[in-house]
């Protein structure tokens, strides 16, 4: 009886595990901190209005990020436009309408597989399908369609999880007062699932914001001295510009790339903040 209890040792193990978890958390935060500090040190001195409002140049002091920033805003907006309705509606179908049979399971598994396909493969697909076959050229819309394909699985999976988390009792209550499937979905399921769907959408768009490989594949330009005026214009994007600057030998360009990273991070934080704000407002009503 006495021998089996061993309380002191069990508590010691519990403490050890807790310290280990804290250490791992600190490690992640530390890495992020070092990264942000490094980037800020190099980039902040270059970050001013001129940097945001100038086009790239071969002279570092004249170079700016305007075309890449606008290219990214165009790209992410159009990607959202294509991917969000498609992804959410696919999730609604799979979760609310489709019978849970072998075909549905097959589709679900393959959507999960698609989420794991390397982004360069989507670039190849985009090049063949949108740039060449549909003859959209190296336009923003071709890039956005490629990005939409890339993030679609992420949106579908996140939206499906959010919809699945809506309690079945709520649907039954609505059906029992003579609602159709559409009325149940619109009035009860989607509003309840909205915060979860939004989180998934923001995560997916953040990914589109940072992806470089598929854009290079479909031929987004690296040097561009204009802002896209429409979806058919050629474009460049922030990660491409950042990548391009890091490949230059001059150290000034490396510092410019750090400034570009800061801009990218700010865009990302603004997107997240918008989502937090929308969720906060949604939870109050």
């Amino acid at each position: 009886m006495q021998a089996g209890l061993n309380l002191a040792r069990r508590h010691a193990r519990a403490r050890l595990f807790k310290s280990f978890c804290i250490a791992m958390t600190m490690f992640s935060v530390l890495i992020l901190g070092v990264l942000v500090a490094q980037v800020s040190m190099l980039g902040l001195p270059w970050l001013d209005w001129d940097f945001l409002s100038s086009f790239p140049s071969r002279f570092p002091e004249k170079a700016g990020i305007k075309s890449a920033l606008f290219g990214t805003l165009w790209l992410v907006s159009l990607t959202a436009l294509f991917a969000i309705p498609t992804g959410v509606l696919a999730a609604v179908y799979l979760q609310e309408y489709a019978k849970q049979n072998r075909i549905t399971r097959f589709i679900n598994i393959n959507i999960a597989n698609l989420a794991g396909v390397p982004s360069i493969v989507y670039g190849i697909l985009g090049l063949a399908m949108f740039v060449r076959f549909m003859d959209l050229g190296r336009s923003v819309v071709a890039g956005a369609l490629t990005m939409a394909l890339l993030i679609l699985p992420v949106i579908v999976i996140a939206a499906k999880e959010a919809i699945r988390a809506v309690p079945a009792s709520l649907r039954q209550a609505a059906f029992a007062v003579g609602a159709t499937r559409w009325q149940v979905t619109r009035a009860h399921v989607l509003p309840q699932a909205f915060p979860g769907i939004l989180t998934g959408v923001i995560l997916a768009l953040s990914r589109a914001l940072g992806e470089t490989a598929p854009l290079i594949m479909i031929g987004a330009l690296t040097y561009i001295a204009f802002v896209p005026a429409g979806p058919m214009d050629e474009f460049t994007a922030l990660p491409i510009q950042i990548f391009n600057w890091t490949t230059r030998p001059q150290s000034e360009f490396h510092e410019l790339s750090s400034a570009g990273i800061i801009v990218l991070l700010v865009v990302l934080l603004l997107m997240n903040a918008t989502a937090v704000y929308i969720r906060y407002r949604g939870s109050r009503t």
Binding site: K99, Q100, N101, P167, S169, L170, R171, Q172, A173, A174, F175, A176, V177, G178, A179, T180, Q183, A187, H188, Q192
Partner: protein, 265 residues
């Protein structure tokens, strides 16, 4: 040996009450699993019929088949016939939405919409295009559900601020606002305290003036207290069906007697 030739119509009285719902040779299965086995019964109009039986005997499955709530479970299949005022509930041209307008339902756990009290009651009539004074309709439904006095000053507050018992009465009001003819109740008091349970039981007596009520319960005392007729189900088989008095005091079947006297279940 189970009595497999139980009479489908309740009671031995000379003049049985007119039936509003009729199940004939109904079998319901989940995949390979038979949950309701060849049940035939008549539900009399404007009476309270209780369905009792041990857990997993198929009573909820049977109840939910009356307003086609099993449609949402992909693996469920059903045979036999089921009619409401002589019309086939499961005919190819029967719209399940229309069935549910006539046959409302109250669930085991109170499940109000996470919206205002008012909207909980008004949503059903609204989406079904009911015209007229919505405020009046909401008030009438809440009064009938004996909830009006407690909520009349705060109908715009979230339904989730109500207590469990109040929420369940709100769910009853929500069903009543649809002006159904039948209300199916699936263990409506199992999540409630004794005081709330007593209030709901009182309410049932009021409601049976105007509505037919079918209530599933695993509480035999509740069945004995509130119902006019009682059906006893075991392993999906209708063992006995009759006037509640008779089922509880002079059951025709041994199994019924053992169950209602608490020897098993």
């Amino acid at each position: 040996m189970m009595n497999s030739t139980v009479s489908g119509s309740p009671g031995n009285s000379a003049e049985p009450d007119p039936a509003i719902l009729e199940a004939r040779n109904v079998c319901i299965s989940y995949g390979e699993n038979l949950a309701v086995n060849n049940v035939s019964l008549l539900i009399p109009e404007k009476k309270i019929t209780a369905i009792i039986g041990p857990s997993g005997c198929g009573k909820s499955t049977l109840l939910r088949s009356f307003n086609r709530m099993n449609d949402f479970i992909d693996t469920v299949s059903q045979t036999g016939s089921m009619t409401f005022r002589g019309e086939d509930i499961y005919a190819a041209n029967t719209d399940p939405v229309e069935v549910r307008l006539k046959i409302g339902m109250v669930f085991q756990k109170p499940n109000p919409f996470p919206k205002s009290i008012y909207r909980n009651v008004a949503w059903g009539p609204m989406i079904n295009g009911m015209r007229g004074d919505m405020d009046e309709l909401v008030e009438a439904a809440l009064k009938r559900a004996a909830l009006w006095d407690e909520v009349k000053d705060r109908v715009d507050e979230s339904a989730l601020t109500l207590s469990g018992g109040q929420q369940q009465r709100l769910c009853i009001a929500r069903a009543l606002a649809m002006k159904p003819e039948i209300i199916l109740m699936d263990e409506p008091c199992s999540a409630l305290d004794p005081v709330s349970t007593a209030r709901i039981e009182d309410l049932l007596f009021e409601l049976k003036q105007n509505y037919t009520i079918v209530i599933v319960t695993h509480n035999m005392h509740q069945a004995a207290r509130v119902s006019d007729y009682t059906a006893f189900l075991e392993n999906g088989v209708l063992v006995e069906y009759g006037e509640t008095d008779q089922v509880f005091t002079r059951p025709a079947n041994n199994r019924t007697e053992e169950y209602v006297t608490g020897r098993f279940g």
